[in-house]
Symmetry: C2
Subunit: 412 residues, 2 copies
DNA sequence: TTGAAAGCGCTAACAG
DNA sequence: CTGTTAGCGCTTTCAA
């Protein structure tokens, strides 16, 4: 199939194989031959260091990596056990799964041999036979960045606890890629799918296949606009509303907004909350104070520049994410604005770095892990429901406003 | 048996001939291309909002999510196709994989029906039969945080291009968990494994199983101390050495170090480079200027406090990672130290947030994606080698020092 | 160019 | 308590 391009694209330094420089009992140097007969030993070796000589020796540590001859490359199967014990494969199978109808004596024998032969069950075969892959699929826009990483952690925890593996796909914010991801998951026979839409997904018909197969499907965070789907989301509206209200409470009257792509539910809701909060407090909406972008760091920088250039004074910025507001802060400070005295700032997502900026950033926590856990629980409920008749459910998590120095103009 | 702790990380499979799709009559041969589809219903619905009433309607967008009754929940298999076309399963199988010995006419009929029935090959069955799962396994300490996320991205790219899926496990910095991860991967019949050791892994004997089975194994970044393994690492020594040398070049004479756990090769090498660089430039090593910890944010805060409290003046800090130095910076500034005039700072890893602090942090780039790509290429070479005789290789990537404001005391 | 048949490793009736 | 048997869906000889 796809060619394996075996070229190594490595930096100048040639590969260092079996480099040493240590005094300790070095076994093999250089291209170590395979099958060094049962060398069960301690070996130390130098650091991967280029150039400089190093006062080594004292930094090595013992390394009990056993190098034993591969006894047999053959993977023990259930029938190997059966043959060796003069039992039938079904007995072995049952013994291994601790079936009640197998005598303790037999079980013990089986387990012992399994241990000796280092038997590992073949999940593929079991899944094929049982018709259950014990695997869930997830499609996320990307994996780098705080939010999805934490959601995935939540998903993994609950799923694993329930005995499921999780297969992850990244759509790279690309709708076509997302579609392929879906095929991949279907081919892998996953038992249910979790999805957070890509930035460029404006058409969700590719999820119809899933539906047609009665395969449980749950969206989270970035979801399509249909009450017919099951979904878990944060109450972005609420979080944003609170953030803006907080800024108003600090005496801000001209609050700017850096918003994200409006076809995404999350960005739209944050923007809407911004408008509503202003209105609820009798403040006018001024479109000169609003800037839409993709919320990257460069976008944040540019947003601040544009806002400053518009000649529409503002005393606060609420951005739809933390990165944008962090970028904006740099530009604002460079322009001589004091934070929060001149301009108060609030972001969204509670990224780790909001505690690394000076001042720390006010933000809204998204309950990442909880979102993951909730979504997978919902999915597992659907998977467990044989009838496939469960009505779609939508679950809304409550965010938490975290007030920090970037927005505190009054004594707390 | 082995606990489930797997996260599969997958992406588009190599095109499977006769991929589904609906829409107008696709005539073409070969892997059916994505198809343009017509819009079908439109439905709008309110936002997931709790509490406040919202001026809905204007913010909804069209949603062509089709709600159709599940026609048949039965997944079409190869034998269904065979039955309907009066062909044998083997012919179908061959046609689907575009085998040369099948007539074009037959292929066309097969593909067409496959499309109609929305046939999706069962990977499990294929893998079982072929004895090849087309899956690689990866064990990382965690998935949140810049570094591993990017390495994984690199791994995914290359692996997918070569037609492999990737299964990810997180050890959560826990050696016991790492062991379970390994079982999970073995059970899933992966064809090769990539590992970056957990913080608490001091004994690597559990990888012996892998070796005994002749399963290709490549370590990256955090690796065991043995020349017998294949590994890809950054030249941490070189990167740290350059960073410290840079600080010296800026006029710093009393440079402190915040170091990580010394049983990890990466931390040890950074520390060693720190000492060597000092020595090479005739500066004394003073243990009062060194603080070891786990390099978290709180650790960084504490490190600075301890260093300040020791009454051993210092004019620079080189930390083994960015988080620690970012934390230290906060404490130092709070204590009235100007950065970089009083204390110059340098970290390690090139985290995104190094561009969000004030001033920006000098750091060392780790070539994350390249590390992932390189590691998986090495692994794929081993997988491709039927003989299993390839000698272990170690590849060293060169880091890049990124000088930023936190350490620039002289005009560039 | 197509078909028949034999499994991959495991599970689960159904019988003893 | 244990064994026999029949597949899960697919690939792959070997024959036609």
């Amino acid at each position: 199939m796809a060619g394996r391009s075996g070229l190594f694209f490595v930096s100048p330094l040639p590969a260092v194989a079996g480099r040493s420089g240590k005094g300790a009992g070095q076994a093999g140097l250089g291209p170590a031959p395979l099958n060094p007969q049962r060398t069960v030993g301690v070996c130390g070796y130098g650091p991967y260091l280029a150039g400089r000589a190093a006062p080594t020796g004292r930094f090595t540590r013992s390394c009990p990596f056993i190098v034993s001859t591969p006894v047999s490359t053959h993977r023990a199967s259930i029938s190997d056990l059966a043959a060796q014990l003069n039992l039938s494969v079904s007995t072995i199978s049952r013994a291994l799964s601790d079936h009640s109808s197998i005598s303790d004596a037999t079980k013990r024998r089986v387990w012992e041999l399994a241990r000796q032969l280092n038997y590992q069950p073949n999940q593929l075969a079991a899944a094929l036979r049982k018709g259950r892959s014990n695997t869930l699929g997830v499609i996320v826009p990307h994996i780098d960045g705080h939010f999805f990483a934490l959601v995935l952690k939540g998903i993994e925890n609950v799923a694993n606890q329930a005995g499921f593996n999780v297969m992850i796909c990244q759509s790279n914010e690309n709708a076509a890629h997302e579609k392929k991801n879906l095929d991949t998951l279907l081919n892998a026979q996953v038992e249910g799918i979790l999805v957070s839409l890509s930035l460029t997904t404006k058409d969700v018909r590719h999820f119809e296949d899933v539906r047609r197969r009665d395969l449980p499907l749950v969206f989270f965070d970035r979801i399509p606009e249909s009450p017919q789907v099951s979904a878990v989301v944060l109450d972005d509206y609420q979080g944003a509303y609170q953030a803006v209200e907080h800024l108003i409470g600090q005496g801000c009257r001209r609050i700017a907004h850096i918003g994200g792509p409006q076809h995404l539910n999350i960005c739209r809701n944050r923007y809407r909350a911004y408008r509503d909060a202003l209105q609820a407090h009798g403040l006018p909406y001024d479109e000169h104070l609003v800037y839409f972008c993709d919320l990257t760091l460069p976008d944040g920088l540019q947003a601040a520049e544009v806002l400053l250039g518009r000649n529409a004074p503002f005393d606060a910025v609420f951005a739809a994410n933390d990165l944008a507001v962090a970028g904006a802060m740099q530009v604002l400070r460079a322009a001589g604005r004091r934070i929060p005295q001149d301009v108060a700032l609030a972001g969204f997502s509670n990224e780790l770095f909001t505690l690394l900026t000076e001042p720390h950033l006010t933000t809204v926590d998204q309950r990442c892990e909880e979102m993951g856990r909730t979504a997978v629980r919902l999915l597992l409920d659907m998977v467990a429901d044989q009838t496939r008749q469960l009505p779609p459910r939508q679950i809304v998590l409550q965010p938490e406003l975290l007030v920090r120095a970037s927005s505190q103009r009054l004594g707390e």
